[in-house]
């Protein structure tokens, strides 16, 4: 109860007094950079995974699907905890990197990207898989009979018919990465300019009773997320109205 009262008090003081401070701006920029990097990587690796899942008849499909969906149900701290273990100097990845003479990923931006990729994977793979599955096999057969090889078919038939799937995947993956907290806290720590993202900065402000600053950041995140989702849903509706042309 106490925290809410104090939050309300902070509100009465007025958000205007708490313009974005420099560290807050750094956290904001870092969050955007993390989300952008993550979504680019996710689209690159999510496309082949989603394509394979949509086409395969392998018995391994369910196993892979379940693995990818894990972050949907798992507390992020669990994912973060196991990542921390594997990234640490005696963990599997950490030890391998050390053996290769490479720097550790724990508490670095690269580590955050890795965590975010795993954490947001289902939000990218699932819309893409749905989009790919809804493409009729017949269209692909027709394309190959008309002389299109596999890559050509993918670019000339699959991609244009999956536009909405990609838009949804990009937005969900981006927005979900922007809002992550638990994984970052576990593997990133709280290093300003390197691993301190918006959600952590907000938590910090609340901890140190700076409700005005917490408000500003929260409001930005809230409005940004809403705007992005609004864009997706209205585009989706317009596309449905126009048919898939």
């Amino acid at each position: 109860m106490d925290i809410w009262n104090r939050a309300a008090a902070g509100h009465k003081l007025g958000i205007s007094s708490a313009m974005l401070s420099n560290p807050d701006f750094v956290a904001f920029a870092l969050t955007i950079r993390l989300s952008l990097t993550t979504i680019v990587i996710l689209i690159i690796i999510g496309t082949p995974i989603a394509w394979w899942l949509s086409q395969t008849k392998s018995k391994w499909r369910s196993v892979i699907e379940a693995l990818i969906a894990l972050p949907l149900v798992l507390p992020p701290t669990v994912l973060g905890f196991y990542m921390l273990l594997t990234l640490s100097s005696d963990g599997f990845i950490g030890a391998s990197l050390a053996a290769l003479g490479l720097p550790s990923l724990a508490f670095t931006f690269s580590g955050l990207v890795l965590g975010s990729v795993l954490y947001s994977l289902p939000f990218v793979v699932q819309p893409l898989q749905n989009a790919f599955s809804s493409i009729e096999q017949r269209s692909l057969e027709a394309a190959s009979i008309l002389g299109a090889g596999p890559l050509d078919r993918f670019i000339s038939v699959v991609l244009p018919l999956s536009k909405m799937g990609y838009l949804t995947a990009i937005v969900l993956g981006f927005a979900h990465t922007m809002g992550e907290f638990g994984v970052v806290l576990m593997i990133g720590g709280n290093i300003p300019g390197q691993t301190q993202v918006l959600s952590i900065a907000i938590y910090d402000h609340v901890e140190s009773l700076q409700y005005g600053a917490a408000h500003s950041l929260s409001a930005i995140l809230l409005l940004l997320s809403f705007a992005v989702l609004l864009m997706v849903y209205s585009l989706n509706k317009r596309v449905q109205l126009l048919g898939r042309a």
Binding site: A142, A148, L161
Partner: protein, 354 residues
């Protein structure tokens, strides 16, 4: 020649087909549903990679024991039962899809002449979703041909259409076949389409080829599998002779036999094709008089089949052409039908198919 010797084993279905047909004209593939017609076409196209055996089109080996040509490299066109146009492209872009992926030097079909032949000019800017079923199939046919194929595969292209659209598309198909100098495989379960369009015929039943060859040879085989299906029929090539009787047109078969059909608006000497079902032909030993049946022609019995389901199929010779008749075993015995016998064939109805 087109040589096919293939085998395909699915969980529930076994297809085995060995045949060769001429590399020209339209080869109809006919049989009841589930007999493997579509699977055969898919194997030839390369869409069933687990199929074993030989697929050879003229000098080009598409598949044998040691090689398997990928689908995009098989120079063929295919039109499916339900249209498969790309919905993200307009009609013109659909038409150019295969064309743009064909080497300039091997392009043999011109875009504008194909659009003219199939009346596609006014559709070019449209989205496929806004087309009627018949229009979609016309675009699909043109799209396949614009890729300059060496073989055209048509998988029941009319079956998703209503009756009137079917008739129109059949007229377009005839126009296309007339100018086409590549072989066509045409899958259908309609004997009318086969009678109208095919030069060669492959009969399929339960995953097997039960007969193949020039259409007249296959149709006039006394052991034709069509007989068991009660689908036996003959095709007669005729020409218009006169419009001298009220509401009737007089026509003459190649062998010179005169027939009457319901009046048609066609010029004297224009060619036409008749489909006559065996079950619509009955036999008399003497020329019947006082009958309402219009077409009674002299014929000679050449062959008599075994009894199947209480009936026999009689192969008749009418001035050098084959006509099949179906009579009950009882009548056959009563009339003492035997090979070489002169009889009168009463034709109850004919279908004009071309």
């Amino acid at each position: 020649m087109i040589d096919i010797q293939i085998e395909l084993q699915n969980a529930s279905f076994h297809l085995e087909a060995n045949f060769s047909v001429a590399e020209t004209g339209v080869t109809g593939i006919f049989g009841p549903s589930g007999s493997g017609k579509t699977s055969l076409l898919r194997v030839i196209a390369g869409l069933e990679p687990q199929a074993l055996g030989l697929v050879q089109i003229g000098n080009a080996v598409w598949q044998d024991e040691t090689s398997y040509l990928p689908i995009p490299q098989r120079q063929m066109g295919m039109v499916f039962q339900e249209p498969s146009l790309f919905q993200h492209l307009n009609v013109a872009e659909n038409l150019r899809y295969g064309m743009n992926r064909t080497k300039r030097t091997s392009q043999s079909v011109e875009f504008s002449s194909m659009c003219e032949l199939l009346d596609l000019e006014i559709l070019l800017e449209r989205n496929p979703l806004t087309l009627s079923g018949g229009e979609k199939q016309r675009v699909a046919i043109a799209r396949a041909l614009l890729a300059s194929p060496q073989l055209l595969l048509l998988d029941e292209p009319l079956s998703a259409l209503d009756q009137s659209a079917r008739g129109k598309l059949m007229t377009y198909l005839e126009k296309v076949f007339q100018i086409l100098d590549i072989p066509v495989f045409y899958v259908s379960h309609s004997s009318e389409e086969i009678a109208r369009l095919a030069d060669n015929l492959i009969l399929m039943d339960s995953g097997q080829v039960s007969a193949f060859g020039p259409i007249d040879d296959v149709l006039s085989r006394i052991d034709s599998p069509l007989i068991e299906l009660d689908e036996a029929f003959s095709v007669l090539e005729c020409e218009v002779k006169a419009h001298d009787l009220p509401h009737l047109t007089t026509i003459q078969s190649v062998g010179g036999k005169i027939l009457h059909i319901p009046e048609i608006q066609r010029a004297i000497t224009s060619k036409l094709r008749l489909q006559i079902r065996a079950r619509d032909v009955s036999l008399c030993l003497t020329e019947p008089s006082n009958t309402s049946i219009l077409n009674i022609i002299e014929a000679k019995v050449t062959e008599i089949s075994q009894v199947k389901q209480g009936a026999r199929t009689i192969k008749l010779d009418i001035a050098g052409e084959n006509l099949m008749a179906k009579v009950s075993d009882y009548s056959s015995t009563q009339l003492n039908l035997h090979s070489g016998q002169e009889v009168f064939a009463q034709i109850k109805s004919v279908a004009l198919v071309g």
